[in-house]
């Protein structure tokens, strides 16, 4: 370690934190040294440092995308800290060794790492700022050969797997934020499901941003070998700061022959206050490669948080007969902006995709669906069905739909349906006349509207999502 680096690492901790826990925060700014520092901190192999530096080089030459239908002041990438971690004990053997302050934080967030999750039989990986602090059920999963751990551990313990797949679905030069992530990613979850194994429990990662001036750049990878299947859940929150925090994650999924990956997200990053001050910039690249024949990748997302959401979980349907699905509910309120949707790239024969997108805009918010359905010449007999519904609440919100359809053969089928509706005074009066108050009415209308998506979520998540939506839209009608 060079002297500069030593100094960097040993700098006093000058920030105050929301969870008062001793933290290790890198100084603001991004350059090669920052990247070397992150890599060194994680004791990474040389090839990964190379990957990071190459990505950084690519990123320097790229420009921030201007095409999304969102507006925000230019981000100063030198004003962000690229590494923040609760000061870590060397290695945690069991949950009991986790800092009690952290446990309390997650308890408050409704993610108790002990009882409830244990009862629900969900294995959890918890990411706090830049690092994974705990993974439950690791041993039990290992018995059937499943690897579920933090990305940092995976790099050290299973380098051959990480090296084989890292950046293969989302090349580091894919887009501006993916390149940034590839250069500075800190932690995330890694799942490997071996051949023929049906994962016996839902795997889950809970992301928490705690530090005000740090960005969160996690990287998640799920590899499902031949004939395996897994259901993965992701939850996110952050405390309320008046400044904006950047969250630029990358998620790569690979499904081999006959494998099945279901990825569900309930995203509830801090959205800013009612005047649009503060909140997370959620600029995320998620993509699944349905590499094998008959493989299936299914994305379900409930997006309620973030000041700005820019996110298009996509499927590349490479294997013949592979299936891609995207079910989305995006809710915006106050001054939130969301530009979200998916890409379905059909390459293999008889590939099928389904897109169901529900956008709800309230307050002064703006909600856009942007989706690409691309059918390559090789994708004979491909089929897509898309349904994009928007609901407006109040008079000052906006809903937009940007569908892109490219079909390069003459025996594929693409269907697109869209609708826009409004929760009106008259609907609420009708409910009231039957004894039902406005809150219950809105929740019933919204749930009806989102039904097709919610029923894709695992049970517990569906309940959480429903409650979240009702809370989110409270007081926005009537």
């Amino acid at each position: 370690m060079s002297a500069t680096l030593q100094n960097l690492v040993n700098q006093p901790y000058k920030h105050g934190f929301v969870t008062s826990i001793e933290s290790d925060v890198a100084p603001k700014g991004l350059n090669e040294d920052t990247i070397r520092m992150i890599s060194a901190k994680k004791k990474e192999p040389e090839w990964l440092l190379e990957f990071r530096l190459k990505s950084y080089e690519a990123w320097l030459k790229m420009e921030e995308p201007a095409w999304p239908n969102v507006h925000y002041p230019k981000i100063d990438f030198q004003a962000i800290s690229y590494y923040a971690a609760p000061k870590q004990k060397p290695k945690l053997k069991s949950m009991d060794e986790v800092d009690p302050e952290l446990l309390r934080t997650f308890e408050k967030l409704g993610v108790p790492l002990h009882e409830r999750m244990a009862l629900a039989g969900v294995a959890v990986d918890v990411i706090f700022d830049s690092v994974s602090v705990a993974t439950t059920y690791k041993d039990k999963l290992a018995e059937v050969g499943i690897i579920f751990c933090s990305m940092s551990e995976a790099v050290l313990d299973h380098p051959e797997l990480v090296k084989k797949y890292l950046g293969t679905v989302i090349p580091s030069s894919d887009n501006f934020y993916a390149a940034l992530n590839s250069a500075v990613f800190t932690d995330g979850s890694f799942c490997y499901i071996p051949k023929g194994v049906k994962c016996p429990m839902d795997l889950s990662t809970y992301f928490r941003i705690n530090t005000e001036e740090s960005g969160q750049f996690e990287r998640t990878m799920i590899i499902a070998e031949e004939g395996s299947s897994v259901s993965y859940l992701e939850g996110c929150t952050a405390p309320a700061f008046s400044s904006n925090q950047l969250h630029a994650a990358v998620v790569e999924l690979v499904a081999l022959d006959n494998a099945d990956i279901k990825y569900s997200t309930v995203q509830n990053w801090y959205a800013g206050d009612e005047n649009g001050v503060g909140g997370i910039y959620n600029f995320v690249t998620k993509r699944g490669l349905a590499k094998g024949v008959n493989s299936r990748i299914s994305w379900t997302q409930v997006e309620t948080g973030s000041a700005i959401t820019w996110k298009y979980p996509s499927c590349v349907l490479l294997g013949d007969n592979s299936v891609g699905e995207f079910y989305s509910v995006a809710v915006t309120n106050h001054y939130q902006q969301a530009d979200t949707g998916t890409k379905m790239i059909h390459i293999g024969k008889n590939t099928r995709s389904t897109i169901v997108s529900k956008g709800i805009s309230a307050g002064h918010s703006n909600n856009s669906y942007r989706g690409l359905v691309k059918i390559a010449p090789s994708a004979t007999g491909a089929r897509n069905y898309s349904q994009c519904d928007s609901m407006l609440v109040g008079h000052q919100s906006g809903a937009h739909t940007f569908p892109y359809i490219q079909v390069a053969n003459n025996n594929s089928q693409v269907e697109h349906e869209a609708s826009t509706s409004k929760i009106g005074e008259d609907q609420l009066f009708y409910f009231a006349q039957r004894g039902i108050n406005a809150e219950a009415a809105v929740s019933m209308i919204i749930n009806g509207f989102c039904k097709d998506v919610f029923q894709q979520l695992p049970m517990e998540f569906a309940v959480e999502a429903t409650a979240l939506l009702s809370f989110k839209l409270e007081g926005s009608v009537g």
């Binding site: 509706s421 009106g424 005074e425 008259d426 609907q427 009066f429 009708y430 409910f431 009231a432 006349q433 039957r434 004894g435 039902i436 108050n437 219950a440 019933m444 209308i445 749930n447 009806g448 509207f449 039904k451």
Partner: protein, 264 residues
Amino acid sequence: MIYKDSKILLEVRGLCANVSGTEILKGLDLTVKSGEIHAIMGPNGSGKSTFSKILAGHSAYEVTGGTVMFEGQNLLDLAPEERARAGVFLAFQYPIEIPGVGNSQFLRLTYNTVQTHCGKEELDPLEFDDYVREKMKLLEMSPDFLERSVNEGFSGGEKKRNEILQMAMLDPRLAILDETDSGLDIDALRIVANGVNQLANKDNAIVLVTHYQRLLNYIVPDYVHVMEAGRIIKTGGKELALELESRGYDWVGVENKAAARATA
């Protein structure tokens, strides 16, 4: 039916109301006792529908004067949902469509909400299903009704039947039927009227708001009121409706003015 010694359910005195600055009701009086069926008739724009929406508490209307007492409490103090829970039911002239919300789910929520308010037991989905199917027979409704979204894609007749079904379920003290006959063909009219007749009893009251006499062939009112320019200007028995049908509305106003001059 008029019963001796029955209680006053609804008492409206000097009710005045505006909608966006225009005066629609100008001192309306009406007394409804339990067991009675009243018909409010009148030309378009006389304020009939406005009156029914004001009773239900629609926020677009501003009450500027008068009182409305319902079973001894000031109805105007109650929010719309509280009025509904207290037993005021409005069958809408144009029931609104609520896409995505299942009819059975909606019906159960409304039923259980009102039940809970009355201190009664809620029904679970299976019990409710039995209950509602029984009520649907009354209105000759097909069971697939429950599977559809509330009023979505319903024909005019189906929407009206759905309204009366809700009335049958909720068993209100006071039911106001706003132009329930409009848009109904003769068979549907007969079914709906038959349903309403079976629901009428000595403890509740029904106010029919209608433009035409036709409905009154099937649901026979105890009183017929003629409304004009935001007031009830004439009250009579069921034969008044027939007279209106043959002579139109104009003569009532003329006669009324003459009477007013005579007393002055």
